[in-house]
Symmetry: D2
Subunit: 451 residues, 4 copies
Amino acid sequence: MLEDINEKCAVVGIHGNNEASKLAYFSLHALQHRGQEAAGISSSNGKKLQTIKKRGLVMRVFDEKKLETLRGFSAIGHTRYSTAGDDSILDAQPVFARYDLGEMAIVHNGNLTNAEEVRNKLIANGAIFQTFMDTENLIHLIAKSEQKKLVDRIIDAVQRIEGAFSLVFLSRTKMFAMRDRFGFRPLSLGKLSNGGYIVASETCAFDLVGAEFIRDVEPGELLIFEKDKKPQSIKVFEPTPKHCIFEYVYFARPDSKIFGQSVYQTRKNMGKELAHVKPVEADVVIPVPDGGVPSAIGYSQESGIPYEMGIMRNHYIGRTFIEPTQEMRDLKVKMKLSPMIDIIRGKRVIVIDDSIVRGTTSKRIVKMLKEAGAKEVHMRVSSPPTTDPCYYGVDTPDKSKLIAANMTQDAICKYIEADSLAYLDKSALLRSVNSKEDNYCTACFTGEYIV
Amino acid sequence: MLEDINEKCAVVGIHGNNEASKLAYFSLHALQHRGQEAAGISSSNGKKLQTIKKRGLVMRVFDEKKLETLRGFSAIGHTRYSTAGDDSILDAQPVFARYDLGEMAIVHNGNLTNAEEVRNKLIANGAIFQTFMDTENLIHLIAKSEQKKLVDRIIDAVQRIEGAFSLVFLSRTKMFAMRDRFGFRPLSLGKLSNGGYIVASETCAFDLVGAEFIRDVEPGELLIFEKDKKPQSIKVFEPTPKHCIFEYVYFARPDSKIFGQSVYQTRKNMGKELAHVKPVEADVVIPVPDGGVPSAIGYSQESGIPYEMGIMRNHYIGRTFIEPTQEMRDLKVKMKLSPMIDIIRGKRVIVIDDSIVRGTTSKRIVKMLKEAGAKEVHMRVSSPPTTDPCYYGVDTPDKSKLIAANMTQDAICKYIEADSLAYLDKSALLRSVNSKEDNYCTACFTGEYIV
Amino acid sequence: MLEDINEKCAVVGIHGNNEASKLAYFSLHALQHRGQEAAGISSSNGKKLQTIKKRGLVMRVFDEKKLETLRGFSAIGHTRYSTAGDDSILDAQPVFARYDLGEMAIVHNGNLTNAEEVRNKLIANGAIFQTFMDTENLIHLIAKSEQKKLVDRIIDAVQRIEGAFSLVFLSRTKMFAMRDRFGFRPLSLGKLSNGGYIVASETCAFDLVGAEFIRDVEPGELLIFEKDKKPQSIKVFEPTPKHCIFEYVYFARPDSKIFGQSVYQTRKNMGKELAHVKPVEADVVIPVPDGGVPSAIGYSQESGIPYEMGIMRNHYIGRTFIEPTQEMRDLKVKMKLSPMIDIIRGKRVIVIDDSIVRGTTSKRIVKMLKEAGAKEVHMRVSSPPTTDPCYYGVDTPDKSKLIAANMTQDAICKYIEADSLAYLDKSALLRSVNSKEDNYCTACFTGEYIV
Amino acid sequence: MLEDINEKCAVVGIHGNNEASKLAYFSLHALQHRGQEAAGISSSNGKKLQTIKKRGLVMRVFDEKKLETLRGFSAIGHTRYSTAGDDSILDAQPVFARYDLGEMAIVHNGNLTNAEEVRNKLIANGAIFQTFMDTENLIHLIAKSEQKKLVDRIIDAVQRIEGAFSLVFLSRTKMFAMRDRFGFRPLSLGKLSNGGYIVASETCAFDLVGAEFIRDVEPGELLIFEKDKKPQSIKVFEPTPKHCIFEYVYFARPDSKIFGQSVYQTRKNMGKELAHVKPVEADVVIPVPDGGVPSAIGYSQESGIPYEMGIMRNHYIGRTFIEPTQEMRDLKVKMKLSPMIDIIRGKRVIVIDDSIVRGTTSKRIVKMLKEAGAKEVHMRVSSPPTTDPCYYGVDTPDKSKLIAANMTQDAICKYIEADSLAYLDKSALLRSVNSKEDNYCTACFTGEYIV
């Protein structure tokens, strides 16, 4: 699928470890796939918060000297995907504020659906907004809450917001982690081997820093981290799980475990289901790398059709500003993907992708395979047609740009010039994720929004 | 004197010219000497504000592409000197806010003396502060004012703050310029030859962009710039001028005209006064470049003792992190200054500096001149002993670091190993600036603070 | 295997196309895996040569403006892997020289085994060497040759050198491509769809720029490219093929075709042979990515044991200079590789790597898999034990660092803590590459050097 | 005059001090005004030479880590002014070579007038040239000399070249300094306080590193530096001094002593002569900074007309790529220079510049002064009309661009719109430099070339 849809961010929090900011740094590196535009860390040494945030990859934003200024036993961090084309750093996180109880910092993965309404109300009451992030609402709500204690103010504040939020709050002495009642975005709790706790968007961060997975933060749950205590849990909302199924389809790292299951295994299941419900005779099954690899392996195992790395992905990609020559057609896709001609030539090829968004990349891939000599190209997609934009923390194109919102499957098949095209239907997708009840948000496939 | 004391910033505002941001850019370049750490510009096209701010010199922060995104007929800009050693961009200006009347941006040169008190009051009422700049108070005061119109809110807000402020405000359609009742920091009004107006910290900005000087913004005056109208003036405070005399002594560019007078001419007057009241027999008068040049010329003209460029300043200075060798004593000063040996050797030398702050640089300069063969070195300083820190927008060392606050003049003379040392006294300094009444703030020499 | 052994470079040449330097640029990008330290291009417009070379990746070395200065109908290019830690650009290619016939530039992939001897002879005759590249010998030999024509001088020169060389020469009007008699390093000829010819180290460059593969440049063959003519061929040496078998094992891109065969297919063959000759009962076959992927697929297909992506590779790797915390063991390998725990846990795992060089990475991988819960770990290597350094253009560690040169296979197995370890033996490897006769250099496995 | 004519480079050599490369680094910084495009240092530890060279200012090219790789008791260095607009580092110095006697490195200030002839002869004999520097001739001549010892080869080599050369050679154990028989370019010898010797283009380098001036290297003299010995002197050529008088006029730093005299004092003499021979009634004398400062002081002292800093130079100059607006005329000069209006307005102004090359800058300066209100502007130039290009190491425009080669003085005066214009004539210039006989090259004023 390749970059038509993007997760908006990742969050991490460390509490009770004197190398908190270093652990946050490595965790953010493990979560880099969830946002490459900006990175930031706030830490507390018990007396004051320190924040560093900047445009760029985690490894470029921080160096030894900067991490040393972020001292303390607690730290929260954020990586950001940004649609904004400018150089403004204003919209990076953590969001920091001084307020009547002292200092706080917040990181947020998700999207608040009533942000504008809340902001307008706050502004009407004299608040000022210095950024364009919906997250800024939260620091205002906390500052203005009439509760005395921070924990009560957080509870007060999250009751006034709607939408998707996996949040981590840092005060001078405590850390808080909170997830909306639907549990749209993942957030897991782990124990550091050397003392202290970690919460992070995905468990791949735990593996890198040597933390042990305990459990997910529950939908609607608030966790309070205090020095030398076990995390306390408060059930703020009754949980009504609606996990983002697209995390399984595309966003999460395959070595993570989210919403209680291995991402890799779940993607393999999708491939198996696809082979089961949308079979086609062919000589070879190949993935669109890297996203399609587990599904293609699943498809191959279920169908018995051999799996091959029929398309190679080039990882030396930066941006080139050099215009291609006349003879270099489809340069953009060829810079990233190239076919294994000997595997493709003369074969009936099943190519597995995780989703089709605009359709242009799929069209180029089919063309590339045909030019490499494929006798037939059968496109199999390990998710249903993407017909609707997401309002819960994912950056999707307008509905007008979503090919499945504007064309029938037959028309799409013709447009991408494939010999056949099939999607995984919603019920098969839900089987793949072992959803006994309907615990997932599938609005991007159905338009049925929850809030 | 060389970098022991620093002006904190410069401001500029352009209104009614379609190349507003470009004019702001060049103006900020002309004002670069007032702050080298960060630069920023906000512009308005009538519908929304755009802001770009970043660490670095004006010429590095902006390029063609960035200036193009700052479209509109009005722009305000800021350069900043920052004591903070970190990479945080949070504390750069303009400060931007969305609030109930729309959007605004502010730039500020000065320092608010009641900032903490105001902030605490605002915080107690639920406000949050996202930066460490006292300027953030202003956007809160404006947002919370119960007045209906922005102009009335600005008047309301500035009545609640104390201290030094030369401010420029930008809304979507208007621009405002305001100076505190004392007129601590300079702010001048000019007319652009191609249409529209400019306000800037110093007139050297006018000269670069081809604007004509009209007059100073008056102490206590608010100017309102509206499209196709002449600037309107409102007297918010009764003016009680207390201009920063150190602007004449050191900060302002010699080709600027501030507080009604040429900086260069005023510095020459100081040199003449110095020759008059602190004469000494000598063979040659030399300046510590570049600050001491005009005073040394004045001293020479008054005394008849020949003026020479006895010390050369090297402008290829960056920062070196290479440790000097054993044989390279006083590297730090020698990298910047070197003596003209033939001018110095065997001579009785009067060396003119604008001020003595810590005393260490003066000590090195005297030593350098002695090593170059000076028979006598007479240090003459074109301002009184600097004994007290500034609270009105200048970055000064602690009182404990100010040599004149801790030693007698005789002791200082011994410490710097000069053959004689004399300062310009306060009354002679005031004569130099043609102050009929006592229109100047001299707190850094007297400890008599105004507010 | 991961970066213990490195190909030293890639070469490319374009002739007869007015976008020659742009085509060279994109070709070098496709060949970036063969050298990431420096890149360079020389072009000719018929009158003079222009050269740009610099440290860094191809995409960073060149921009639009630089490519525009490299005008002309012919261009040669080079990417370099360099062991030198310094910033010297001296040893980047193309090597340029003015000499009695005009100007020339050379790019070289390989290593001259008699370089020192030749150089000493040249130096004794008054030559000077300005770099540390063996390639510099060639420009001297050409300049000093007593032949009249460049083509004859090239023939003269290459007869005086020994070792591995795939060379491209550029003069003001012609281009020459030459391969040593053994054909150690690959070099292929293609036809540009828009006019002109291309030679490149690997065919993956052809695919990117839209060129059609014609054939390999033959071992011992010199190709002459002249405007508006077909390439002329001269057999300079009788070919005695000894292709570098490690190109198949590790260096070449899997989508390239070298030495007459698909790299991907050949690697799959290695996996199949391995399954055939070194079988082991297991539940799953996994590759060390990316190198081990095709062999692992082959192994799975031959053995019927399911293939899985049991180890994930993280491509957001830069260099971090941050020290890990105590709890973060094996950070270096974990930053790059992470296990799919659900795939590994409780399983008997066959892990396929292309080679074992020092053994330290293999040890960490086995440990990582065991920690992920593998019941058994069987290491299978798709090449024989690497016992000897290469003198034909590959950067290998000293023999003392090659684990297989210093330990028995049993000892290695114990050292890396695997449950079993098996290598592909030389004869099975040769079967994988379809070598009817002994057309390959296997010196790194046998110590039997050819020249 | 401002950057129309440029010195091509500076050289330095250190021998017999274990911090040789660090001393070379600081010396090059002091000589930065002689070349800002590239910098390089070669050092020897007795066994081998190490070279680092790169585009950029000295302080950016080297850091602690790089200097540490340049170990040894001897080092030579170079800064370069380059007309070439490209990124090629090929033409930076030191030039390094391995040859039959081992290794050598050379730095060169000057220009060889028979370079092409020598090069063609060398090329005809089989030599290759890898750069476009005339200095490359020297390493060939040394390598091919039939003498046995390096010192004899150097003598042999310099007898085959013509033109201007101040050279420093480094071998593994020795250092050599050589100056052409005319002594066109300066080169001085000093003693390091901590052990060892220094040679450098200007004595300002000695002052920075704490070395004591001994004497100039004589025209035609070769100095040999060997460990634990005093420098040996060999008179290679009979000296016939023809020092570059433009070094006094413009290039050298005013705090240097070259050709036996203080640069500052010599420039003052020029100003005095100018006042004597080209008097004019006026109210004020001002320099074009920084070059004209000493002459203007001299003029003032001789004439009694007061000296003022009537034009300020802005040192925050980088390059801007932003186009000025319509209203910003003469931006290029205004970014660098701005008038002190109060000094200029209503005055008859004498403005002193060191030279007029193209005339365009002078025209802009006169215009700027008139716009600032000058009643009269009298341009006085402290050198004769520049009518001819230099072939001895200075980068001058073509004769067609030299205004004095194409216009009479009257016509120039009209062109620059001055009220009067006068140059210092050649005999007065020679008096200023105390030249008893005709020891100076004045070819740029007369067209009478020496070789």
